[in-house]
């Protein structure tokens, strides 16, 4: 039913990714809600914990701190059953302009991107654009080959096990 509503307004809820330039990757999606609610979900730790680690990926939040103001820092700590150590994602908010714009750094790895979230409201719907801008083409290429996002740790473990038996 919700999908039908978004189709009527001509904005399907499809998530699209695109390499916009040598050092930029863009994700777009439309939400059936005013921008202020989408913004709230991006800037409130209790709400972020409900959606940032998708259930289907088996990753869970251990803690989520976000001081959402210019210069404020965030720290998302996550765990996966197959990992001994939790993973921390850290950075700083550079711009906070509710309910339209949020800019932050990603500092858990060297040469991390700067992410810009923009929300554009139209007829009660919100069009979301998420831009990851890297410092250089090499930095984005590296991110694309290092598997920093969405890697499958259980498969690494399985491979470790298999290769042990092959030695």
């Amino acid at each position: 039913m919700e999908n039908r509503a978004s189709e009527v307004s001509g904005m399907p809820r499809e998530t699209v990714t695109d390499r916009r330039s040598e050092r930029e990757v863009v994700v777009t999606r439309t939400f059936d809600a005013p921008a202020r609610l989408v913004f709230e979900a991006w800037t409130t730790p209790e709400l972020l914990m409900k959606w940032w680690t998708p259930k289907s990926f088996g990753i869970t939040f251990i803690s989520c701190e976000a001081d959402v103001r210019p210069g404020g820092t965030y720290r998302f700590v996550m765990g996966h059953p197959d990992f001994d150590q939790p993973m921390a994602f850290v950075g700083r908010y550079l711009e906070v302009d509710p309910p339209r714009r949020l800019v932050w750094t990603n500092e858990e790895s060297e040469d991390g991107s700067v992410t810009t979230l923009t929300l554009e409201e139209r007829d009660g719907m919100t069009h979301l654009v998420l831009r990851d801008l890297y410092s250089s083409k090499a930095a984005l290429d590296e991110a694309m080959t290092s598997g920093a996002i969405g890697a499958y740790p259980e498969q690494f473990n399985a491979l470790d096990g298999l290769l042990e038996t092959l030695r």
């Binding site: 809600a33 709400l47 890697a151 491979l159």
Partner: protein
């Protein structure tokens, strides 16, 4: 941030190729990779291609095999996405890893899946906020 632990006794380029591959494809592809790696000759071919690209003829000579036998091994590695081949004239050259553009497309698709899954959960959070706002609005009247 997902750094695999100590791994196995293969050269660095080979490890990197296998890892990239594991990261970019789903479990089904991983099974194919495992099958491809279960053979000593094929692991040897990967090691060899980690040092330099080679033709099927060169690989066959190096591993003391028939051309047909080596072609079969290479096609298994190719099917698993661990090796790509390119025919120029009469020579088929084998190299480690997938083609650059395919790797980028695979990464973008993986990135898209992660965000689509997040946004799916985000929809539920936003629906909850909308319900709450509506209920608060009514109770204020």
């Amino acid at each position: 941030m997902f750094r695999p632990g100590p791994m196995f006794a293969l050269d660095e380029p080979v490890k990197k190729t296998i890892l990239n591959h594991m990261v970019q494809y789903n479990a089904q592809h991983v099974d194919t990779s495992f099958a491809a790696l279960s053979d000593a000759t094929r692991r040897g071919v990967l090691e060899q291609l980690g040092r330099a690209d080679a033709s099927i003829t060169e690989l066959a000579a190096r591993f003391d095999m028939t051309l047909t036998g080596m072609k079969k091994h290479v096609s298994v590695l190719e099917g698993a996405g661990l090796v790509t081949t390119e025919k120029i004239g009469r020579v088929r050259t084998c190299r480690l890893g997938g083609r650059g553009l395919e790797e980028e497309a695979a990464w973008l698709e993986r990135h898209r899946r992660l965000w689509a899954a997040r946004f799916n959960d985000l929809d539920a959070v936003i629906e909850e906020l909308k319900r709450k706002e509506k209920a608060d609005g009514k109770s204020r009247k």
